[in-house]
């Protein structure tokens, strides 16, 4: 379940029988819907009942819909799992508020998943969650899609690829310092930069200032389907993020047989074996040294061997299996009475704890009202449909989507 994107709204069926609800709440800031607190309760309740849901799994600490859905699911007695995909700070105002919201959600979550051990440490510190409840399941990469180039590239000209959002968090400012220095030191090096963002202007300025137009290619935004074709034109992948819980981009690069040079931040050291990555401090001179070292060890790298190793190390099937284990553990947890759950919120803080309790109490009361207005048995459960012929078309009416198939079992 997610919010509507542009005119994509309603119900969609994806491959493998995955059903997606695009709920028509308009996103108002950075792909996030307006936090309405209790506004999403009716639709979430309807979806959870009609689809006979057992576990609700929310992703991303920055998503308001996620926090609201987890809160309502908890009120209605469902088991809840939360996955955190990013690292956050502790100091600035935005982080402090974000951490408080996270503390609220995680105070009563059944299980939590983090994508690296560093991320687990970060989440546990920010939210005060007991570490036994947190599982570490690293992300994986689709090695079938990210294959190395069929022919090995010649080593006369070394191509360094950068694909990332050009924002402060991803270290675009570091790139502005590093690229001219590397171009000066190594005349046979070329850069390819894919991606777009607010810092693109600075990179263009750098290009003009040092006359690097023929040595730095700016590709603009690269759709995910084309990422592989950009990666296989290079020898080295450069990642300059200032913070990273995990980094799927370097996995994709390693799967395509590129040697990675990255900043040693967050969960990055946990991702690749030491011989596939060169780490550096997020400092321009240190990064230039690391790139030099990478260029020197480049002749020893074999893309095919790298790709085969990655195939063995990372697979989404493994992630799915581990996630299923977490679901099983969550389902086996006992349901707790309301008072015990509310007492957990009180530990969150002096005034925050009481505020959270109040929020949950109001949610419970609203839920009772909703049950009187529309009892559970009035919400029809969706039958298991066997989809024989599959027709899909987007219509101008904004709230629905259809499928044509046979409904065998409506009893």
């Amino acid at each position: 379940m997610t919010h509507a994107y542009n005119n994509r709204s309603g119900v969609r069926y994806m491959t493998g029988g995955l059903k997606v609800y695009y709920v028509p709440w308009k996103p108002f800031l950075m792909q996030n819907t307006l936090p309405t607190f209790y506004g999403t309760l009716p639709i979430i309740r309807t979806i959870l009942i009609r689809e006979k849901i057992s576990v609700v799994h929310g992703h991303q600490a920055f998503s308001t819909l996620c926090h609201e859905a987890l809160m309502h699911a908890r009120t209605m007695g469902y088991k809840v799992v939360f996955t955190d995909h990013s690292l956050y700070g502790f100091a600035d105002v935005g982080s402090v508020h974000m951490n408080k919201v996270l503390q609220f959600t995680l105070a009563d979550v059944t299980q939590a998943i983090c994508v690296s051990h560093t991320s687990k440490e970060n989440t546990v510190l920010r939210s005060g969650l007991p570490p036994e409840k947190v599982y570490v399941i690293p992300n994986a990469v689709d090695t079938a899609m990210f294959k190395p180039a069929p022919e090995r590239l010649s080593n006369n000209e070394i191509v360094i690829v950068v694909i990332s959002r050009l924002v402060y968090r991803k270290g675009a400012d570091l790139l502005v310092e590093v690229i001219p220095e590397v171009c000066r030191l190594h005349p046979n090096v070329r850069f390819v930069i894919g991606g777009d963002g607010p810092k693109r202007v600075r990179l263009e300025e750098m290009r003009e200032k040092h006359s690097l137009q023929d040595r730095v290619d700016m590709l603009g935004a690269v759709p995910h389907a084309n990422v592989r074709s950009v990666l296989i034109t290079g020898h080295i992948f450069l990642n300059s993020s200032l913070t990273e819980a995990f980094c799927i981009a370097i996995l994709e690069a390693a799967s395509c047989g590129l040697l990675t040079v990255s900043t040693c931040v967050g969960g990055v050291p946990e991702v690749l074996p030491d011989d596939m990555i060169v780490l550096a401090e997020p400092d321009p001179s240190d990064m230039v040294q690391a790139i030099t070292k990478a260029i020197n060890i480049l002749p020893q790298i074999d893309p095919e061997t790298m790709h085969l190793r990655m195939k063995k190390l990372y697979s989404w099937h493994d992630v799915a299996r581990r996630t299923e284990t977490v679901y099983d553990r969550a389902l086996r947890c006992s349901s707790q009475p309301l008072l015990e759950r509310l007492s957990r919120y009180l530990t969150c803080g002096a005034w925050a704890g009481k505020l959270f309790c109040l929020v949950m109490l109001i949610d419970c009361i609203l839920w009772q009202f909703l049950q009187l207005w529309q009892p559970d048995r009035d919400i029809e459960v969706v039958a298991d449909a066997t989809l024989t012929s599959f027709l899909h078309e987007e219509m101008s009416r904004d709230s629905f989507f259809f499928f044509s198939g046979t409904i065998d079992d409506i009893s």
């Binding site: 609800y21 028509p24 639709i43 979806i47 709230s399 989507f401 259809f402 409506i410």
Partner: protein, 186 residues
């Protein structure tokens, strides 16, 4: 039409009642499906609306005329206004919606309101491409609806404009319209 109808099926759910009639007779059997809004919920709705409107209509009058006139003269006014609103509402209140399938001819969609007014829409059989069951998602709820894809038009035509019957009542109607179209095509 020939002989009298035979009630082939009747199915009830708290709010809606589904009745399936088959009119046998020359030239062919005509399929009629009715969805009736239950009297109890209709009455409840009416009483509820009447009371709220009575309250709304009477309160400003009450305060305005308190200084000048007494309660006896304000009450008939509020009753009259309330009655007027209820009359308008009953014109909007749907009593029954029907789907009449005339094989090889078309489908007639009828909407009968509380005041007795009936709106009919006819769709020729060759204009219907397929009936579809949609899951409609709104910001607060999710429900099933039956619609017809009309050849040459972009918008789907909703079979039940006002009522929201449960999917168990929609499925036999959907199957019947599909069958009628298949017969026509062969």
């Amino acid at each position: 039409m020939g002989e009298s109808s035979a009630a082939a099926d009747a199915y009830e759910n708290g709010r809606y009642k589904y009745i399936h009639d088959i009119h046998k007779g020359p030239p062919e059997a005509i399929d009629v499906h009715h969805i009736v809004l239950q009297r109890s919920s209709q009455k409840k709705l009416l009483i509820f609306c009447f009371l709220t409107l009575l309250l709304f209509a009477s309160s400003p009058f009450f305060f305005f005329f308190l200084q000048q006139l007494n309660l006896l003269t304000t009450l008939p006014w509020s009753l009259l206004l309330g009655g007027l609103f209820v009359r308008l509402l009953s014109q909007k209140l749907v009593k029954k919606e029907s789907v009449i399938i005339l094989p090889a001819f078309g489908v007639q969609l009828e909407t009968q309101y509380g005041s007795g007014r009936t709106i009919r829409r006819f769709v020729p059989i060759n204009k219907i491409l397929k009936p579809v069951l949609n899951e409609c998602v709104t910001p607060v709820t999710c429900y099933w609806s039956l619609a017809l894809i009309i050849r040459g038009e972009e918008e789907l035509m909703l079979v039940f404009k006002e009522l929201y019957p449960p999917v168990k009542m929609l499925v036999p109607i959907w199957k019947a319209v599909c069958a009628a179209i298949d017969v026509e095509e062969t």
